[in-house]
């Protein structure tokens, strides 16, 4: 097994608006199983950051525990990172985003990390609308601990060991819509054309953005009888293509024919939905929930942007926090002195 990735890159790699190449967004070589869907998601995050011309050092990656939570090592080596405790990534992310509201936060989690042990924390990210992108690499099992069924495993799905799952799986996207998340999407690790623009849109979104990504576990959940294998997922996929156009490109962009809907984000960038499933209105939680449910009843996996409220208020705004990160505030701002304390005390008498 090679643990080193050669330093050589294609001599004609394109550069983005910052002059970086895609190689500037690379991470360490992956130690996940060959063919794991999680590696494709890592590549999509890397590609998204490159295409959106984000400075690597202005991004923070945070995760819990699991194969999926190992992913941040494998992209953006030049970014900040925090690999936290199982299911506890939300509290670290919340704290970090409050301390420094200027960084772009990418949380990476698994279906076990989110839907089992981390559920209690996950819910509060949405309630509070923490400004971050939260990606669940959803393989329907606990990959790292050898493939036990997770809480998102579908009813009737057969595990690698032959057991039929007797419980309904939690649909994290529906849960997020119901819980008030301001950006909710679903995608498939094997569909970078859709996943990349979704991640870019999620990062541009000014609030909590959730993406549930079906990500096959090649080792424990890619067999016949599994509902989250590459083959099964491809067979049941209903993909709604998405384009993301950053604000600076917006004016120059020509839209492909058949663009059915466009949503403008707070920063002026635009998401174009090239084809939405009939009946879906992405600005209406009820319609989104209904559409997901009716597709699920037909055994279809609907992927794409499911719900978006572009004018939402994130946690830093609703708490009326200082507009600058804590580390930029000087001593005088953080400790205004005894005079100010006195006047506050006066006000309380």
């Amino acid at each position: 097994m090679s643990y080193i990735k050669p330093k050589f890159r294609h001599p004609r790699l394109p550069t983005n608006n910052l002059g970086y190449t895609i190689a500037d967004y690379d991470g360490a070589i992956s130690t996940l199983c060959a063919g794991c869907g999680h590696d494709s998601i890592s590549a999509s995050i890397r590609n998204a950051c490159f295409k959106s011309s984000l400075h690597p050092h202005r991004i923070a990656k945070i995760s819990g525990i699991g194969c999926s939570s190992k992913m941040p090592t494998y992209f953006l080596s030049r970014s900040h990172g925090f690999n936290s405790v199982h299911g506890r990534m939300p509290s670290v992310a919340t704290g970090a985003s409050l301390a420094n509201r200027d960084l772009t936060y990418v949380g990476v989690s698994g279906d076990g990390d989110t839907a089992s042990i981390g559920m209690g924390q996950f819910i509060h990210l949405m309630r509070r609308n923490v400004n971050m992108t939260y990606i669940v690499a959803n393989n329907g099992c606990y990959g790292l601990t050898k493939g036990q069924d997770s809480a998102t495993a579908d009813l009737g799905s057969i595990s690698k060991y032959g057991d039929v799952n007797g419980f309904d799986g939690i649909d994290l996207a529906s849960l997020a819509i119901l819980q008030g998340a301001s950006f909710v999407a679903r995608s498939f690790s094997g569909d970078k054309e859709q996943l990349e623009p979704l991640i870019r849109a999620a990062m541009a979104h000014n609030g909590f953005a959730f993406i549930d990504v079906v990500s096959p576990c090649v080792t424990f959940n890619n067999h016949n009888g599994s509902t989250k294998s590459y083959a099964e997922t491809r067979d049941h996929l209903d993909a709604m293509p998405v384009d993301f156009v950053p604000m600076r490109d917006e004016i120059r962009t020509q839209y492909a024919e058949g663009t059915s809907q466009s949503v403008t984000l707070h920063d002026g960038s635009v998401i174009h939905l090239r084809k939405a499933v009939s009946g879906l209105a992405t600005n209406d939680r009820q319609s989104a929930l209904n559409t997901i449910k009716s597709n699920e009843d037909k055994a279809r996996i609907l992927t794409g942007l499911l719900f978006l409220d572009p004018d939402t208020q994130n946690l830093s705004t609703s708490l009326e926090l200082a507009t600058r990160p804590l580390n930029e505030l000087g001593k005088d701002e953080l400790c205004p002195g005894s005079k100010v304390l006195k006047s506050i005390n006066e006000g309380l008498r």
């Binding site: 090679s2 004609r12 790699l13 060959a34 063919g35 494709s40 590549a43 690790s189 094997g190 491809r234």
Partner: protein, 599 residues
Amino acid sequence: MKPTNTADPEYFHRVVDCQFACPAHTPVPEYIRLIAQERYTDAYMVNWESNVFPGVLGRTCDRPCEPACRRGRVEEEPVAICRLKRVAADFKDDVSALMPKAGPKNGKKIALIGGGPASLTVARDLAPLGYEMHLFDAQAKGGGFMRSEIPSFRLPDSVLDEEVGYVLDMGITAHFNTYIDSLQSIIDKKYDAIFVGSGAPRGRDLPNVKGRNAGEKNIHVGLDWLSNVAFEHTKKIGKKVIVLGGGNTAMDCCRTSRRMGGEDVKVIVRSPFADMKASPWEKEDAIHEGIPIIDNHVPKEFVVEKGKLVGMTFDRVEAVYDADGNRELISTGEEPAFYPCDDVLVAIGQENAFPWIEKSTGVRFTSWGTPIINDDETFQSTRKNVFFGGDSAFGPANIITAVAHGHKAAVSIDMFCRGENPEVDRPDPRFTLVSQKMGIHEWSYDSIPIDDKREAVPLVDLEKALKSKTLEVELGFDVETAFVQAERCLNCDAQTVFTESTCIECDACTDICPTSCISFVENGSEEDLRARLLVPATNEEQDLYVSGNLPTGKVMVKDEDVCLHCGLCAERCPTAAWDMQKFFYTMAKATPDLLEAAE
């Protein structure tokens, strides 16, 4: 695009850039790996089978492989392919016992005219088949221009003696000091076939430049002068020497002059420095020995005073290029320049000359003076039993080209002698394709390339070098440097072989590939596909490897251009749809089983 037909060996052959560029198709990565494994003898024999003169070529080859080397496309400098060949020759054991022997006589007799690399290659390829071979050369020893023209400070006699010896020892009857002045006389001796490897022996002169006759005593044709030096008929030259010409012969003339008493030696050339025919390293070597190269000067007059050459005048010119890149040298209008000198060496080119081939033999020539030859596969002349090869066939080239011609001519001669038509059903090149997988993620070769830079070969002290005509200037790599230089090779013969039926389109290979070679896209025309890959494939000399349709309707397209052959795609593929397979290829030879390829 249609799926790539990898069953055709020419596809993978083109991927091994160095081997493809080598006229004799030497399996370069194979011998370089053997050097890294300290298996110098094996590395030597792999070379010897393909190019017959590894020790000679490891010092003198024109190395068309190096500009082709893939490493030059991913970093600045190619692998030191040529000088690694010398390493194999320098550090090998005694190989005489490994050399094939002459086969039992088959009753057929061949004449070889000229004892240069072309004739010697024909001799080597045919000897094991039992041909009786008679080689004729005007010179006292074998080797042709390798002996008479290439100076021994670049190529020691001992190296040449050894490698010419391996061939002559295969039962070849050599007639040295024998100039053939009539082809008819050879034909009359009833040889079954005749191979003409007489080279391009005539050096160009400047008969029409004023003063050429008056200065005759001190004006020498470079080609003749070098061979007179080699055979010690000429022992010294004047203090001030002008060498005319910009090719490799000029470089050998000026460097030899420095060792024969020339103190102020200049190369003066018509063309701009950048357009000179000499290889860059030959120019560097001359400059390193304190020889200035004065460009854009056209010879005007040999200035002779009181019956003695005192210098030369030159018109100063400027190169002007038209839209098609054609060059014209236009006078700058300045005064002609005068350079004093004692001797002039004219090294402005060489041409074919066959005064000894009678018209009546039926061997016909083009208006350029080269023989009319069927094609560059058969080397058969207009007289069916006479074959040409090396510089005699198409004009001056180099040793490795002469060797390649020799292999092809030997195949033709053998077919002809067996009553077959050398134009049809020629033997195919031989190749094997074998998986290099050793374990789940383990390959038989060092798959991850190292970052080390190319190193120059160390040289002998300059002052010492200039004192001797025979002291070899280049010292060669030591084993430690050789190892690092060998490890720079990217193993381009470790082919990425794709099996579309097992691919599950997980993208792992695309994501891991360090040089963004692999794309999964909708099919299209070649032009369209080239534009739509992860990084557009703008190097059209390099092929696209295209699969058939995959389950999602896309195809796999790999741009071969800058693949590092690192095997990561195959390591990351969950279904082994990618495999790294060693492609071993050798060009067709009269004796295909000369040696079995080293494992």
